[in-house]
């Protein structure tokens, strides 16, 4: 079963394009997606997934689990960074530990999207509210990370110059969260009529553009591997162990709540994935003392490929054992 899932995942075009990107860096090809294309693709993916989640919500799916799932999502995105921070404090300075904590508490939208594509291949349904859960999990961990930093290293960061107001705005209204929530709302408002009009765009192109984006993620991720070399085994071990721990908790909670398989996988993937967009964008300005040479490669070159390649099928085969 686990092997089956792994195989299905590995033979999915998006994952293969991810490998292709990796390979390009490995053979030192000059392949490159020119500058604003990756950003444009990520806007597209967020818009599409948000819109589809909204349409799903407008159908009233999800039933009793909706609010519970959202609550668990927010709770997990606060628990994971605390776990991470206290595990990391002895190894790293406070700002860097706090940034890693925020990284793992927040989420990776592309990992989530790859999981939805994996579920579609298996024809397993999932609720639109999981997409709302994703949007809600992006920001709290960032705030917790900054709060941890200000508490344990009050001289670091911007000495409080940048008020919480600004930080909250940057965390909640950064471009990706905003597009995601906005499209979710528009999908929920226009429902199936809107869906019909936009389907060739939001659904037809989805997998193809996901392939293109994962090709870029392969390039970006492989380029960060060099940075890992100087850091020993710890980042690699941590970057695999923490997702596994978070996934275990998430699966446990999913079973407890009686979530269906699809929802359980997506919730698990959200907890197990790590941010590489929202967190660096906020931390670079607010806590420049945190070393991006540590927290970005951990997320991008360890956890992201691990989840995309092994995590997805592993989590799913566990879930399909414990959830009938």
């Amino acid at each position: 079963m686990a092997l089956d899932a792994l195989l299905i995942n590995l033979l999915n075009p998006p994952v293969l394009f991810f490998f292709l990107g990796f390979l390009a860096v490995w053979v030192r090809s000059d392949l490159d997606l020119p500058a604003p294309l990756p950003k444009a693709l990520s806007i597209y993916l967020l818009l599409s997934i948000g819109f589809r989640g909204g349409v799903e919500l407008s159908r009233g799916g999800g039933g009793a689990h909706v609010w519970g799932t959202l609550a668990v999502a927010i709770a997990m995105s606060s628990v994971v960074p605390l776990l991470a921070f206290f595990g990391l404090r002895r190894r790293f300075d406070v700002p860097t530990a706090a940034a890693i904590a925020a990284t793992y508490g927040s989420i990776s939208a592309v990992t989530f999207i790859a999981a939805t594509s994996f579920l579609q291949t298996l024809q397993v349904p999932f609720g639109g509210h999981l997409i709302a859960a994703m949007a809600l999990m992006e920001s709290p961990a960032i705030l917790i990370g900054i709060a941890l930093c200000r508490h344990y290293a009050p001289q670091a960061g911007d000495n409080g110059r940048r008020g919480w107001r600004n930080i909250i705005r940057e965390a909640f209204f950064n471009g990706s969260v905003f597009v995601l929530l906005g499209s979710l709302a528009i999908g929920a408002i226009t429902g199936d009529r809107g869906r019909e009009a936009l389907a060739p765009f939001t659904e037809g192109l989805f997998k193809g553009l996901l392939c293109l984006f994962l090709l870029d993620m392969g390039l970006v991720s492989a380029r960060r591997i060099g940075a890992l070399r100087q850091m020993g085994a710890f980042p690699i071990v941590f970057g695999v162990a923490l997702p596994l721990l978070a996934a275990a908790i998430a699966i446990g909670v999913s079973v407890g709540m009686g979530l269906p398989r699809g929802d359980a996988l997506l919730l698990t993937v959200l907890c197990a994935s790590a941010s590489y967009i929202a967190v660096p964008a906020v931390f670079r300005s607010a806590v420049p003392e945190a070393n991006p040479g540590v927290y970005v490669p951990m997320s991008l070159a360890v956890t992201f490929p691990f989840n995309i390649v092994f995590g997805l099928p592993l989590y799913y085969s566990l879930i399909s054992r414990v959830i009938p």
Binding site: A35, P38, P280, A281, R284, S285, P288, P292, G293
Partner: protein
């Protein structure tokens, strides 16, 4: 033609907003911005990472009188200290409309 100081500041793209706010406060008559440049310095490679703007630099150039230049230097120093980057000053002559 007027004798001016040509000031050139390179720093993290995300901080450029602050640099520009600072130039505005000090009251320069104008400035020119190259929104996306790459670079290397004490804090490593800033080549843009395609996913966010968090790892690219911006450059700004302003021509101003020596007194204003002094004020810019003293205000820009702490910002460069926190976020990295450099500030270069040189003599120039300016033609303005």
């Amino acid at each position: 033609m007027e004798n001016v100081i040509r000031i050139e500041i390179v720093t993290d793209g995300l901080e450029m907003r602050e640099v520009i706010a600072l130039l505005g406060e000090i009251g320069v008559s104008g400035y020119t911005l190259i929104p996306r440049v790459e670079g290397r310095g004490g804090r490593g490679w800033q080549g843009g990472d395609q996913l966010t703007d968090a790892f690219a630099n911006s450059a700004v150039m302003t021509a101003c009188d020596p007194v204003t230049a002094e004020r810019i230097v003293s205000r820009i120093r702490p910002l460069l200290k926190r976020h990295g980057g450099i500030c270069l000053l040189s003599e120039a002559r300016m033609v303005k409309h």
